[in-house]
Symmetry: C2
Subunit: 317 residues, 2 copies
């Protein structure tokens, strides 16, 4: 056994050979904010941009995990390799994922064409952790055809997953007051494909009808993507193939219309900005409190200068 | 009528004379991100740091508005001038406050020693808007003895109000599954004074007992503030005087222990940082898309460079 730390390039090469331990290691280096993070992302960059990144979001109780599992099965039946990132909510104080990956793996545990990983949503309550986009890069570089990012829909995170994905699937279900939820949480703005799950239950047809009316009112210009409203029973797999078809159609439309390029640039932009801000924050916080920022904070607290003037000085420090 | 725009200094002087139209105008300049924002905050700075800033938070249904009104009445009975900022949740898409200030004013509408203002929680869903700390400065400079900031407790915002306030009051009520909520949302970490409202209802004593046990387990070192658990019926005013007393005791302890200074510096630090980040973001986004950031985003989307290297270049651009 070699005691030498593997280089990021080696790890990426092994991940690209389909070695799931290397994939897990790369994601852990990212999650742990390893000093090797930059080396890892630099090694990943040339191999990214191939996967179809699909976001899956919806309120608690709509059946997200079951739908993810059903989608994975349908994509596998189609011969596609699938990577899944399940982003779990976590307390701002405790951190940590709530679901074990083993439980999540279920029927796909022995399938080498599937990789499932839970990630904590550190930093934002219920939102996407800063490390999620980097983990998407790992699965993309590892050659998965589809990367599914599943998030709990709690407002903010829905908006974020829409920013992260090439195609966003919004899940709904009857009996959860979805009409009001839809208007409130802005889900009409973020979906490319809408799925009413638990379609065998009372009220499913009504939810689909209401959603179609709302989407028709919000419909965009000519030539825009017409967002489908599909019905599934994820538990039995009913209707899931049609979702896979819709995902493929949206991806093709995105490529041909130039929307995919625009979204990916927007995403890269948000990501660069977030990293730059984090880097500046950590520079400002350095040196054990004896920083320009600490001095400025004391001056603001004492009413000697206002916070805008202090911010100016900080930027130019 | 003069057509000349009033100077920020004039407005601050009038606000300090207790003129509520000047106070309202200053807060609006802040909320609207007026170009005069910097002028306003600079004029406010020398007059800040006097008010006792009290944060009031709790889950929906615990009786926050009623408690705020009862606290205002009790503080007024004590001769104190009170400014209230009620931070309302708003959609990330629509913005805007949900409650009208007139409804909120209620019995205090004609009292010149009280000023109540609703603010939208723009930017963060359910959280505190970036403008809340500036609005606190306005009420502080206007000479209110106590500035009460009321926020809907939805996780993130509870943590933020704790950062904003000199003293944080966490409200609970029976029948809302508070035990679980407490552990989950981390409210044990953020309160200085705990109030079980609706104390005339079944289960109130149990909520208070559970809370006391949980707080005892989480108790900090010797000499630390011992966080009281009080009971109120805000609707009738029962127990509210004891809350006012606890607020005063915590304020005195904070001043004597040095905790107040530490909190205010921490708050100023977060505020300066947020303003600096916003300024940098807007600089990066300038020039109609033909920016260094847009070029870098295209390079990252194409896999030519990784986002960390791009962020480095952005910072040094």
């Amino acid at each position: 056994m070699s005691r030498r730390a593997e280089s990021a390039t080696d790890l990426v090469a092994r991940a690209r050979d389909g070695e799931s331990r290397a994939i897990a290691r790369l994601i852990s280096l990212i999650e742990d904010e390893s000093p090797r993070l930059r080396e890892v992302t630099a090694a990943l960059a040339p191999h990214t941009g191939r996967a179809h990144v699909v976001g899956l979001t919806g309120a608690p109780g709509v059946g997200k995990s079951t739908s993810t599992n059903a989608l994975v099965a349908a994509l596998r039946a189609d011969g596609r390799r699938v990577g899944v990132l399940a982003v779990d909510p976590s307390s701002p104080f405790s951190g940590g994922a709530l679901l074990g990956d083993r439980i999540r793996m279920g029927e796909h545990a022995l399938d080498e064409g599937v990789y499932i990983r839970s990630m904590a949503a550190r930093g934002h309550l219920g939102g996407l952790s800063w490390s999620t986009p980097q983990a998407v890069r790992v699965l993309d570089a590892a050659g998965f055809d589809v990367v599914l990012v599943e998030t709990v829909g709690v407002g903010q995170s829905e908006v974020e997953v829409a920013g992260l994905a090439d195609t966003t699937v919004v899940l709904l279900a009857p009996g959860l007051g979805d009409g009001i939820q839809a208007a409130k949480a802005g889900i009409l703005e973020i979906g490319d494909v809408y799925v009413v799950n638990k379609a065998d239950r009372d009220g499913a047809a009504q939810v689909a009808r209401d959603l179609r009316s709302a989407l028709a009112l919000a419909e965009r210009e000519e030539g825009a993507w017409r967002r489908p409203v599909l019905k599934t029973v994820a538990q039995t797999g009913d209707g899931v193939e049609a979702v896979v078809t819709a995902l493929g159609e949206h991806h093709t439309w995105s490529i041909e219309s130039g929307e995919l390029g625009r979204r990916r640039e927007r995403r890269a932009r948000a990501e660069i900005e977030a990293i730059a801000v984090a880097a500046l924050r950590s520079r400002w916080a350095d040196l054990g409190g004896h920083t320009e920022l600490a001095t400025l904070a004391a001056a603001v607290a004492a009413g000697e200068i206002d916070p805008y003037a202090a911010a100016d000085r900080l930027i130019h420090s």
